[in-house]
């Protein structure tokens, strides 16, 4: 049989009291089979919860003000009544996560808000409807962002001054250029907007497919094609 020893401190004068609760049920304090030191109270942590406020379950999921969820971490705070803010990381143990909120996620001034993902970053609204996806190669896929854009010089040896989602340009002939997309469009029904430098220069869309948009720059005065030093092109659509 193991024994219990209560040892007094020879230097102290205080009285240690172990107090029983007001109960008619037998209770047992079971100590672990190891050396431990009980800590004192921690300033700044006060609990007046009348139900489970923090749960760490056997799967090492941490739930605060929440229950019956499958996320490694979920913080739920009723505010205001009938509403809540939820942060969930790695839903259902998968590598994807989400941040949801019934109230503005950031309320007040903030200098920077960084959202990071190793793969695509997806913003949804109206439930799970995807509204904007930022791909790992830097493209913003949505109905309101340009799928591709190009600024090129069509004079001399044609060159690309700057671009987005354009892998190359084709010089088809005098003032006849194509922008070849790095990542093809989902279908050929997309919008091409363009311009060229000069009061009498007219940007004309010749043809388009999922992989390119072809345009000509013509003189508004007589319709002849004329090479241009600032040809701009933007693409919106799927």
């Amino acid at each position: 049989m193991s024994k219990i020893r209560i040892q007094c401190n020879a230097s102290g004068t205080g009285v240690l009291t172990i107090e029983a609760p007001n109960t008619n049920t037998d209770r047992t304090i079971t100590l672990p089979d190891e050396d431990i030191t009980l800590g004192g109270g921690v300033d700044g942590i006060v609990s007046s919860a009348n139900a489970t406020a923090i749960t760490i379950d056997s799967s090492e999921r941490v739930l605060i003000e929440s229950s019956s969820v499958n996320d490694p971490l979920r913080i739920r705070s009723p505010y205001p009544t009938g509403s809540y803010i939820t942060y969930s990381l790695g839903a259902n143990g998968a590598t994807n996560g989400y941040v949801g909120s019934a109230e503005p996620l950031v309320n007040g001034s903030i200098s920077d808000l960084a959202l990071r993902a190793n793969n695509a970053l997806v913003l949804s609204s109206g439930g799970a409807t995807e509204r904007l996806k930022i791909t790992s190669d830097g493209r913003g896929l949505s109905q309101f962002t340009a799928k591709a854009w190009l600024l090129m010089n069509g004079t001399g040896t044609p060159s690309v001054a700057d671009s987005h989602n354009v892998s190359s340009i084709t010089d088809n002939g005098t003032a006849d250029y194509s922008a070849n997309f790095s990542n093809t469009m989902t279908n050929g029904s997309f919008c091409v907007v363009g311009s060229a430098k000069g009061d009498t220069k007219v940007f004309t869309l010749v043809s388009q497919s999922t992989s390119y948009a072809r345009c000509e720059i013509r003189q508004s005065t007589d319709g002849t094609k004329s090479d241009n030093s600032h040809v701009c092109l933007q693409v919106f659509g799927d």
């Binding site: 190669d137 190009l150 004079t155 001399g156 040896t157 044609p158 060159s159 690309v160 700057d162 671009s163 987005h164 354009v166 892998s167 190359s168 340009i169 084709t170 010089d171 088809n172 002939g173 005098t174 070849n180 790095s182 990542n183 093809t184 469009m185 989902t186 992989s211 390119y212 090479d227």
Partner: protein
């Protein structure tokens, strides 16, 4: 460096976008070959050249004449086709071994 190839209208030149070129690995010729395989129809004859074609006088009269360094554009790998959104994940899964 650029790519020249024949068209029904004469000669076209394909000029790489610097930002896209920077994403590729290998020698400059290997990068341009990749762009040719990506942006030209499969089976198109082409040449990689650094010839000065800046004089655009009579541009529409330019003709392509096959040279000793002529290459032919090929299909991209399935991985690259998927990467560039040329095929769907379903097509990739059905054809990948």
């Amino acid at each position: 460096m650029k790519i020249i190839y024949p068209t029904t209208e004469g000669l076209a030149q394909l000029i790489p976008a610097p930002k896209f070129l920077a994403t590729l690995e290998g020698t400059e010729e290997e990068k341009l070959k990749h762009i040719a395989d990506k942006d030209l129809p499969t089976g198109t004859p082409y040449e990689i050249t650094d010839a000065d074609l800046s004089d655009r006088t009579f541009r529409n009269a330019w003709e392509y004449i096959s040279g000793s360094d002529e290459k032919t554009s090929e299909d991209l790998s399935l991985e690259d086709q998927l990467k560039y959104n040329q095929i769907t994940q379903e097509v990739y899964d059905a054809n990948a071994s």
